[in-house]
């Protein structure tokens, strides 16, 4: 006879689903590739702690939710709070959000909304700032607010060339700083902002060191591992992230001098662009690297776009610093929400050239309109430059794995052939 067992609550079920998603990706990273990197252990364990065991990292700290990269983390750190970036890669949450949003919405937005709808966080943000970037994120902020969470919009312009835009955005950032400083009961000062800018700047410089190694002929680190490292910056304690990356940098230095190559001899070098891979949605990057190619660079907002450009300060006065911080998040941004986005195309080409890329893989989430629309101009530009490119539309569901693998493999094989023909 069937014995009685306690039945999971919906939160427990959600946690188990997320743990199952997380562990299968972490196991793939730990087990499927040759020459594992020892100091990646910190990151594997961190993600396991947070997403399989649902451990809070920031108890007792004010946690500031951010809906996009445009909310300056420098200002949040200066005011002694922790930024938690809410861009979500879980299919579990995507399915929950799917019941609340139109069917064809972006999975990332659905997942973030689903996360709030279920109100099941290990580190729940106390307040969330939502920059008005793409339509779906803008509207998602209001939906999340309807669940009883405080969401404050931060006006973001859709053009970046004009002086009006620049002015508007600088004012937006100032107003954000005022609101956050009120919320925290703390003043933003010249000294706390300066040290926050320097700390985030140092984290960025470590990222630059990591990416330098990927220019080598023998690439010492996988693209999926890089995505995990930058992804950890979404929620990790910044000081611990910094010391873990310092260790990683020195291990990579050693590996580089030993010419350790995580890829194969003929592995094509891929530049990855498009909708951001966010843990555990590493579906396409994993397929690429399991199909004997190596991701050497990326142009995505979960990685390169978050770290590439530094805050350039002329005068270390409070208001000058705020303006400099603002400019970094507007001028340097290559998000496809902007009317004109030649910067993004230039960035992709520059990455292909400086990282000796053999081809580009462009992923758009089905439902992420701006990336879907911009593929046309990017594909045309790559054709002009003679750079092979594969465009893939996919979502968070695990179902199309087989078909996607076939497409990616065929592209990678064609790159291998091209390489051979050249020789």
């Amino acid at each position: 006879m069937h014995t009685e067992h306690t039945i999971e609550t919906s939160a427990e079920r959600q946690n188990r689903h997320k743990a199952m998603e997380a562990i299968s990706v972490l196991n793939a990273l730990r087990e499927d590739f040759k020459s594992p990197i020892q100091s990646m252990g910190y990151f594997y364990d961190l993600f396991e702690k947070v997403y399989c065991h649902h451990h809070p990292l920031h108890e007792g700290k004010a946690k500031i939710g951010t809906m996009c990269i445009q909310i300056p983390s420098e200002i949040i750190y200066a005011l002694d709070a922790v930024p938690i970036r809410l861009c979500n890669g879980f299919y579990t949450d995507d399915e929950i959000g799917g019941d609340l949003l139109p069917q064809k919405s972006c999975p990332l937005v659905k997942a973030t909304v689903g996360w709030f709808a279920s109100d099941n966080f290990s580190d729940k943000p106390d307040i969330t700032f939502s920059p008005t970037t793409c339509d779906q994120k803008t509207k998602a902020g209001a939906i999340i607010e309807s669940f009883g969470h405080t969401v404050i919009d931060v006006g973001f312009p859709r053009t970046k060339e004009s002086e009006e835009s620049r002015h508007y955005w600088r004012e937006s950032v100032k107003s954000f700083a005022v609101k956050l400083s009120k919320f925290q009961g703390k003043k933003l000062t010249r000294s706390n902002l300066e040290s926050a800018i320097k700390k985030v700047g140092y984290a960025q410089s470590l990222y630059h060191k990591l990416t330098e190694f990927r220019k080598n002929k023998a690439v010492p680190i996988l693209g999926v591992d890089m995505f995990l490292v930058t992804n950890a910056f979404f929620f990790d304690k910044i000081d611990e992230w910094i010391s873990a990356v310092e260790k990683l940098v020195s291990e990579l230095e050693q590996r580089a001098s030993d010419s350790i190559n995580v890829a194969g001899k003929a592995s094509p070098r891929i530049v990855y662009t498009g909708s951001p891979p966010i843990f555990p949605n590493y579906k396409i990057p994993l397929i690429i690297e399991q199909s004997d190619a190596i991701i050497v660079a990326d142009e995505t907002c979960s990685s390169n776009r978050m770290f590439n450009d530094m805050v350039a300060v002329d005068e270390w006065n409070l208001y000058d610093m705020i303006d400099s911080v603002s400019d970094k998040y507007l001028k340097a941004c290559t998000c496809p929400i902007f009317t004109q986005n030649d910067d993004r195309i230039r960035r992709i080409i520059q990455l292909v050239r400086s990282y000796s890329g053999d081809g580009v893989i462009y992923q758009a989430f089905a439902g992420c309109q701006v990336y879907e629309m911009e593929q046309r101009s990017v594909l045309a530009a790559m054709e002009r430059e003679g750079i092979p490119i594969l465009y893939i539309e996919s979502d968070y569901s695990p179902s199309q794995h087989g078909q996607l693998t076939t497409r990616v493999e065929a592209f990678i094989e064609s790159l291998k052939n091209r390489k051979r023909m050249k020789k």
Partner: protein
């Protein structure tokens, strides 16, 4: 005495139930379908009647159901396993409550059936394509893990780690995934609970297609596996009812229907 027989000839097993005039289950038998459905069914029935000391002449009505139902020529009537399952579940769960949803996992298929307040079938869904996530699949998994099918439940409850998802519930592809997991020294317990959750997720999706209404009844051989029951309960978020003999619900339903059909025929004879 008058007795009524229900025979369910499935892909994996032949299930026979005998009911009395009050529709009570008097006895049952489960034997492998093997290669000769008809012959084995006849033999099994003869054995069962002997065990119960029932003379063949006392069996007044026989209903056959299941894939092989048309092969059993002695039957007075044939009904689909969907109808038989619905009737059997209502009857078997009488003391428990009104059944509105049935989950059935068989040897090579799985079904979800939704019933109205009177116990009529309103809607049903079956797995498409193949044996993914059925009893056969559990057999293959157990074989790969070198454990018995009846041990799966114990392993499930001993799992302390995160259940390891098997992305493919296709018996063929899952085999290589499981071998890969074993090769990387993952625990058999976590693999087993992962397998159960993969099946549970799949079946719950199927059930949601017909709509989940309580009470939910779960039958078929795999319902003997408590670990799988637990996984389905967790995926559904509420309790499910598993009968004492989950394998024979459908044959019992056929026996109950035999009883109804016989009584009905008799009344109409008398009416003449």
């Amino acid at each position: 005495m008058r007795y009524f027989v229900g025979i369910d000839i499935g892909s994996t097993a032949i299930k026979i139930s005998v009911a009395d005039e009050n529709k009570n289950l008097i006895g049952h038998k489960i034997s492998a379908s093997g290669s000769m459905f008809y012959k084995y069914a006849q033999e099994a029935l003869a054995e069962l009647l002997k065990e119960l000391s029932i003379d063949e002449s006392e069996v007044v009505y026989t209903v056959a159901t299941g894939y092989g139902r048309k092969l059993f020529k002695e039957a007075d009537e044939n009904i689909s396993e969907i109808t038989a399952n619905a009737i059997g579940a209502q009857q078997a769960a009488k003391s428990y409550g009104n059944i509105k949803t049935i989950i059935n996992i068989g040897g090579q298929d799985s079904k979800a059936i939704s019933l109205d307040a009177e116990g009529n079938v309103v809607n049903f869904a079956m797995n498409d394509r193949c044996a993914a996530g059925t009893g056969k699949f559990l057999d293959v998994v157990a074989m790969n893990l070198e454990i018995g099918v009846d041990e799966l439940s114990d392993y499930h409850f001993k799992s302390v780690g995160t259940p390891l998802s098997i992305s493919s519930t296709c018996a063929v592809f899952a085999e290589s995934e499981i071998i890969g997991l074993l090769g990387n020294n993952h625990s058999v317990e976590d693999i087993v609970s992962g397998v159960h959750y993969s099946i549970a997720k799949r079946i719950v999706k199927l059930v949601k297609r017909v709509g989940v209404k309580e009470n939910v009844y779960f039958d078929g051989g795999p319902a003997l596996n408590d670990g799988l029951v637990n996984a389905i309960e967790n995926e559904l978020g509420h309790k499910i009812f598993v009968p004492e003999y989950p394998q024979i619900t459908t044959s019992y339903g056929a026996a109950v229907l035999a009883c109804d059909a016989f009584m009905c025929n008799m009344q109409s004879e008398e009416g003449k």
